[in-house]
């Protein structure tokens, strides 16, 4: 590996402080990897030893490096949640549950008044929501800042936002008066939340096993 320049202790401290100042929330392992890469690349490419100039040129890469790492897990969990959700239609063992679930929601949508229907919907969603929050999320302080943990369980939040959005726009009456549409939304909310819960449980085991050394 070609090396023309050796970074000084002062520059190393400057680099670490620079990354901490600008990206204080990036997890330790990500920062270690980024710092190491920047040092090696700087040492191999610099002609005048000017670290500030090098960092200015590399700022786009640094931004991309930190953001893609976090987005990666977010996208991975979203993809897995949707895959689990679609398995309710594809998997023959789960299909009867899906059919029963939809019929159940539809019959409630047909029989309950708008007020009780919305209340039943909210209660059913809240049960799953709190199940994820209290039993699914990783609460250990030592693990909370890990990339894998930051977005674990986050899939449940967009449904929460969706419900609040419907409330905020006085959209509820329109929804509750359309039984079929409301049943479809109810089905999506409950089954997607359940899928999110299952993905959280799956990854919780993997993460705790992988990072058990941090918990001792």
């Amino acid at each position: 590996m070609e090396k023309k320049y050796k970074i000084t202790e002062k520059q190393l401290t400057f680099l670490e402080e620079f990354l901490l100042r600008i990206y204080k929330d990036i997890p330790v392992k990500t920062r270690i990897e980024l710092t190491d890469h920047l040092i090696l690349d700087f040492e191999a490419t610099t002609r005048n030893g000017n670290l500030s100039q090098y960092l200015s040129n590399e700022i786009a890469f640094i931004r991309k490096f930190t953001s893609t790492k976090i987005k990666l897990y977010k996208n991975l969990y979203r993809k897995e949640t949707w895959q689990y959700f679609f398995s309710f239609f594809k998997d023959l063992n789960k299909l009867p549950h899906s059919v029963f679930g939809f019929i159940f929601f539809y019959s409630l949508s047909e029989s309950l008044s708008n007020y009780w229907l919305w209340l039943a919907y909210m209660i059913s969603y809240c049960v799953l929501f709190f199940l994820v929050i209290f039993y699914g999320m990783i609460h250990q302080k030592a693990l909370k800042k890990l990339d894998e943990v930051k977005f674990l369980g986050a899939e449940i939040w967009w449904l929460f936002v969706l419900i609040n959005f419907a409330q905020g726009l006085d959209f509820i009456d329109f929804l509750t008066q359309n039984s079929l549409l409301f049943s479809a939304i109810w089905f999506l909310t409950i089954f997607y939340s359940y899928a999110a819960y299952m993905i959280v449980k799956k990854h919780e085991k993997i993460i705790i096993n992988k990072y058990k050394h941090l918990l001792n």
Binding site: L12, K29, D36, T68, K69, L72
Partner: protein
């Protein structure tokens, strides 16, 4: 470099293969190794390498290890058990692909 586009889809296979032959490696080392093995013909850019490494890590194919090197820390990647199996699959897929491509671009030539 004209052939950069051609190897873009093979990046994960290249990383897995290098790690299978080198036990553990760090990101910058991988870029340099590819450059060295291909005599500068192929160059993995940092913008392509790290997302690929992180994706493999997230998929459980790579494990990471942090070690102290001189006055700083370094993050190493190594294959997990499923990563080792996936390397074999990916390399087989690659061989098949190369064979098919040979048949397409040069029907008389055979890799065997």
């Amino acid at each position: 470099m004209g052939n950069q586009k051609l190897f873009k889809g093979s990046l994960q296979t290249i990383i897995l293969k290098l790690l299978a032959s080198n036990d553990k490696m760090y990101g910058y080392e991988i870029t340099q190794k590819v450059k060295e093995l291909t005599k500068g013909e192929l160059q993995i850019t940092e913008g392509a390498l790290y997302p690929a490494l992180h994706k493999l890590e997230a998929d459980g194919l790579l494990d990471v290890e942090v070690a102290k090197v001189g006055n700083r820390m370094r993050k190493y990647y190594k294959l997990t058990e499923s990563g080792t199996k996936e390397t074999v699959n990916k390399l087989e897929e690659m061989q098949e692909f190369l064979k098919t491509m040979q048949q397409l671009v040069n029907p008389k030539f055979s890799l065997e």
